[in-house]
């Protein structure tokens, strides 16, 4: 297996930040387990604040130098060593996940408190450690350039998500967690199988070197297939979403927000990384129609199913199934000739969809959690009286819904508009119709819920009060999705920084 020497990239200034982003939460996790639950929240708060600063710094450096940050771990270059690399999309996702994790932690602050004088609750320790583990795993996924290393990140992410799903206890949630775990491990085994084939064919697992040598031979095609379906299972693209609705609906609100907004995006990020940066020459947009087809089914069937749900959290979870579908159009819509305006439009649209959905869905799950807390249930038929009792919660739900429906101004609109422009410019009429129909259906389910929330309360219903702070967190996340709509509707250069041509 002769490898012609690639230009060796050395660590860039600030590259060590990437190590910090991955290692620091892990160190905090160890500290957490060592020190026990008393100081858990303080450690998590400190770690997530540092995380915010690190992510912001990474993004600023990438934007400032217009080049990716690189760190060669231990000075060992690939193929033996591992290189961490943050390009535009990595930096973007690092910032997004740092913000949403911090918001979720703030939201869960009281729920998973460890009051003095009471016996230590294992649950809160589990929640906070899971949050830290997710932080580390996500950063690893966003920055690693080694396929096996990415596998470890993927598994770490799943293992961190499982306890969050199961934390409430009860047969239903444990069953959901088990389904999730088994299906996700199935997916990662398929991914691992793909990696074996790639290593066998190229003798390396470094994405850049594979990209430089990739040829469409049988082993590579099979490997790409295994890796792709493995990641589809983890991303819960229809019809591989069997685990998602019960898992996301069963977790506590802050957990659902992180699961829906970030965890499914981890494997999606990897999938995009693979097809656009690792096997770029292998991707024929026409062959990717299969993924677009599944995406389209996800949009339509997910939305219709959401429309028919009777519980708010399940509705929001099915909305995630639908919204994930939109992201899969990108594999077809980005033409192979780089530098094309359409390519930039589709690429930007897809990332806007990822980010806008992350914020809108996090805001919506937090709002749904507050709804359940206020009413003591989340039956959609009996949501009456909410608007009078907690208008901020309804507002947060409405604004998130605006973005999911794709009405301007919102990130969801910008994303959908750009995906539509790309779809129609390339003559993909069917996908365009699906994108529009998905918006109409989303309008129906969001509005259905909103009008219930506005209705008069049923007689004799006791409504609990929830803190203003948590309402504002949900609202703040929704507002980010809204404000993204003020971005101009043109390709964003930041998203292409450091991408392999």
């Amino acid at each position: 297996m002769p490898l012609e020497a690639l230009p060796v990239t050395d660590s860039t200034a600030g590259g060590a930040l990437l190590v910090l982003a991955i290692v620091m939460p892990a160190v905090a996790l160890v500290a957490l387990l060592g020190l026990g639950g008393r100081g858990a929240r303080t450690i998590v708060a400190a770690a997530l604040l540092v995380q915010l600063l690190v992510a912001a710094r990474v993004a600023l450096l990438v934007a400032g130098t217009q080049a990716p940050l690189v760190y060669v771990v231990g000075g060992f270059h690939p193929p033996l060593g591992i290189t961490l690399r943050a390009d535009g999309i990595s930096a973007l996702m690092m910032v997004v996940s740092a913000v949403i994790l911090a918001a979720a932690a703030a939201f869960a602050w009281k729920d998973f408190a460890q009051p003095r004088g009471k016996p230590e609750a294992r649950l809160s320790l589990i929640f906070w450690s899971a949050l830290l583990a997710m932080t580390s795993a996500l950063n690893l996924l966003f920055t690693s350039t080694d396929l096996f290393n990415l596998y470890v990140g993927l598994e770490l992410l799943t293992f961190a998500a499982i306890p969050v799903v199961a934390i409430k206890g009860g047969a239903e949630t444990v069953r959901a967690a088990l389904r999730y775990l088994l299906f996700a491990v199935f997916g990662s085994m398929l991914y691992l199988l793909g990696i074996v084939l790639i290593y066998g064919a190229y003798g390396t697992l470094a994405t850049a070197e594979i990209a430089a040598h990739v040829t469409p031979n049988a082993a590579t095609l099979a490997a790409a297939g295994f890796v792709t379906v493995g990641l589809l299972a983890k991303t819960a693209l229809f019809p591989f979403h069997l685990w998602l609705p019960p898992a996301h609906a069963g977790a506590p609100a802050a957990g659902s927000a992180v699961l829906s907004a970030l965890v499914v995006k981890g494997s999606l990020f990897l999938l995009m990384r693979l097809w656009f940066d690792t096997f770029p020459t292998l991707r024929a947009p026409d062959d990717m129609q299969l993924l677009a087809l599944l995406g389209a089914l996800a949009v339509i069937i997910g939305s219709i199913t959401a429309l028919r749900q009777q519980r708010l959290k399940l509705l929001v979870a099915y909305s995630t199934v639908a919204q994930i579908g939109y992201m899969f159009f990108v594999f077809t819509l980005v033409p192979t000739d780089a530098g094309d305006v359409i390519a930039g439009t589709a690429w930007t649209g897809a990332w806007l969809q990822v980010v806008a959905h992350a914020f809108a869905k996090a805001g919506m799950f937090l709002a749904a959690g507050l709804v359940a807390e206020i009413l003591g249930h989340d039956r959609i038929r009996e949501l009456g009286g909410l608007s009078a009792k907690a208008p901020l919660v309804v507002l947060a739900f409405a604004i998130s819904g605006l973005s999911l429906m794709g009405l301007p101004p919102s990130g969801g609109f910008s994303a959908k508009f750009m995906l539509l422009v790309a779809a129609l410019a390339e003559g993909h009429w069917l996908w365009a119709i699906v994108i529009i129909a998905g918006g109409v259906l989303a309008g129906a389910y969001v509005f259905g819920v909103l009008s219930r929330m506005m209705a008069a309360p049923a007689a004799g219903v006791e409504l609990a009060t929830v803190g203003r702070g948590r309402q504002l967190i949900a609202l703040g996340l929704a507002l980010v999705a809204l404000l993204m709509g003020l971005l101009p509707l043109s390709p964003i250069a930041f998203l292409t920084i450091g991408r392999l041509p």
């Binding site: 095609l221 790409a224 219709i304 028919r308 009078a388 507002l395 410019a425 009008s451 008069a456 971005l487």
Partner: protein, 539 residues
């Protein structure tokens, strides 16, 4: 102008936001009539016919031209009058804040859409004018209200989808030239998608103006909900569809075929609405059919203008619409003013009769001026005859409405809208129409006083009156149809069928969620994916 445009959009939204704060709620409800006031700053533009525009950061742009200013002037006045009527009607109601919220959102969109200068702003404001109306219609929460609300929401969402498709195709056609309406419309004639864009535009906005056969939701929607809300929805927000057609039909290029088709569709709507309206026994539903007819005529004139390539059609249609905005709104307010058990004073019936016959072009009314203004665009010959027939139909329909109003036994709910509201609205319609005539047509308003002109206008009204008299004299029972006739019937069919379709989708989803099915699908996907790739690569 520019601060006025922005204030007009932002003030209602800001007031809606302030509803969050409970102590302010009663004050905001009381001030509903003040929310549209910034729109008054833009009133002069209706006369001077100037053009001003502003582009904000991020490409959001707003323009004020004569068609927009005309529609805006009338709508602002109607929203002010309606706002005060609504405040009074809401006084002391427990759920007034909810009404105010939907009202203010609709208001912002309804006025803003007239000044939107780029595709995204237009889309956003159009949505705001269409979707929150649902909350107003279902306000009382009755079974009929809910059904009407569902229909209206479905029409609004589907319309949104259609115009979004049109807008994206326009953006694709004008790739790289920005999203200002002027820019994308410049690219339209050369666009390979011109035909489909036109179809989407006509269908999307046609849904809003109830262009037959897309009219089914309108009689249902206008028959439900509080009358103050129906007044502004029928008068002002329906014009979002008219401004949509004005903005998104080409201006400088003559398109005889497309224009001819729109003209035909509009005239068909005009006659259809007038005739089918006679089958209704609810005055609100009759007014809705009259709207179908009137808005159809406006679409027809726009079609005639497109066929002939006359950009001036925009202004005359907007001018004609001014009368419809305030008078249609006024007639709904009249229904709200009818107090329980008390007979409507004769002078009010006479005034209402004159104003209603204005839709048929009764001389000296504002409606007559509107018809005179678009005569040149609409043309003579067969088209002129059809417009005259529509006027005859309008006469019969409006006389039918008046008999219903005289007989009506209003429900208790309507009682608290003051008669001043509707009288104010129709007066404003007349004043605006007379004072704007020369500014729009360039001809002195004295033209409308010439005996020849009066005779020509009077003829259809007299014929219509004779027909109405004959119908009444024969004393035959009129056929009766459910509101929305075949279109509502079709919609009802879809409504009944859709749960079954949705049930099918959810059953499929449940099936796919079973472990063996899903995991087998994973393996199948793997095989298909690899096979597709392998087949592409030779060898």
């Amino acid at each position: 102008m520019i601060p006025g445009m922005l204030a007009m959009i932002v003030l209602p939204l800001a007031m809606a936001l302030l509803l969050l704060w409970a102590p302010l709620r009663p004050w905001i409800v009381r001030a509903l009539g003040l929310a549209p006031v910034p729109g008054l700053l833009l009133l002069p533009a209706a006369w001077d016919g100037g053009y001003s525009s502003v582009t904000l950061q991020g490409g959001w742009s707003y323009v004020l031209d004569q068609p927009g200013a005309l529609l805006l002037a009338a709508s602002t006045l109607l929203w002010i009058i309606g706002g005060f009527a609504a405040s009074r009607w809401l006084a002391g109601r427990r759920d007034q804040a909810r009404f105010a919220l939907w009202w203010l959102l609709t208001l912002s969109g309804s006025l803003g859409v007239f000044v939107a200068g780029d595709v995204v702003s237009f889309y956003a404001l159009y949505a705001l004018a269409s979707i929150p109306a649902y909350g107003l219609i279902v306000f009382a929460g009755g079974e009929d209200d809910l059904r009407a609300g569902r229909m209206t929401l479905a029409a609004a969402l589907i319309g949104e989808g259609l115009i979004l498709a049109a807008f994206v195709l326009l953006a694709v056609s004008a790739m790289g030239q920005g999203l200002a309406i002027a820019a994308v419309m410049n690219a339209l004639p050369q666009s390979p998608y011109a035909t489909i864009i036109l179809i989407l535009v006509v269908a999307g906005f046609g849904l809003k103006i109830g262009l037959v056969p897309l009219h089914g939701w309108m009689p249902l929607s206008y028959s439900a909900g509080p009358l103050a809300a129906t007044a502004v929805l029928s008068g002002a927000t329906s014009k979002a569809g008219i401004i949509g057609l004005i903005r998104f039909l080409p201006h400088d290029t003559a398109m005889p075929l497309a224009g001819g088709l729109i003209l035909t569709a509009g005239l068909f709507s005009a006659l259809y609405g007038a005739v089918l309206g006679l089958t209704q026994n609810n005055p609100r539903s009759v007014l809705a059919y009259s709207s179908v007819s009137q808005l159809g005529q406006m679409a027809a004139v726009l079609g005639a203008g497109l066929a002939a390539g006359m950009p001036g059609a925009d202004s005359v249609v907007a001018y004609y619409a001014v009368y419809h905005v305030l008078t249609k709104g006024g007639l709904f307010l009249l229904l709200g003013a009818q107090a329980e058990g008390r007979v409507t004073p004769t002078w009010q019936l006479v005034l209402a009769g004159v104003m209603a016959l204005g839709f048929a072009g009764l001389p000296l009314t504002g409606g007559a001026l509107g018809k005179l203004a678009f005569k040149d665009v609409a043309g003579g010959g067969a088209t002129g005859l059809l417009f005259a027939l529509a006027a005859v139909g309008s006469t019969v329909l409006m006389l039918h409405f008046l008999t219903l109003v005289r007989r009506a036994t209003p429900s208790a709910d309507r009682a608290s809208i003051s008669a001043a509201a509707w009288v104010g609205a129709v007066t404003a319609a007349t004043v605006l129409q007379w004072s704007l005539f020369s500014a729009v047509t360039g001809v002195s308003a004295a033209y409308a006083l010439k005996p020849g002109v009066i005779f020509e206008l009077l003829l259809p009204v007299v014929v219509g009156a004779l027909i109405a008299w004959a119908l009444a004299a024969t004393d035959r029972k009129r056929p009766q149809l459910p509101p929305g006739d075949i279109s509502a019937h079709a919609a009802g069919f879809i409504e009944r069928a859709s749960p079954r379709l949705a049930g099918l989708a959810t059953r499929l989803e449940t099936e796919m969620r079973r472990w063996p099915v899903s995991s087998l699908a994973l393996v199948v996907t793997l095989i298909v994916l690899v096979a597709m790739q392998a087949l592409r690569v030779p060898g």
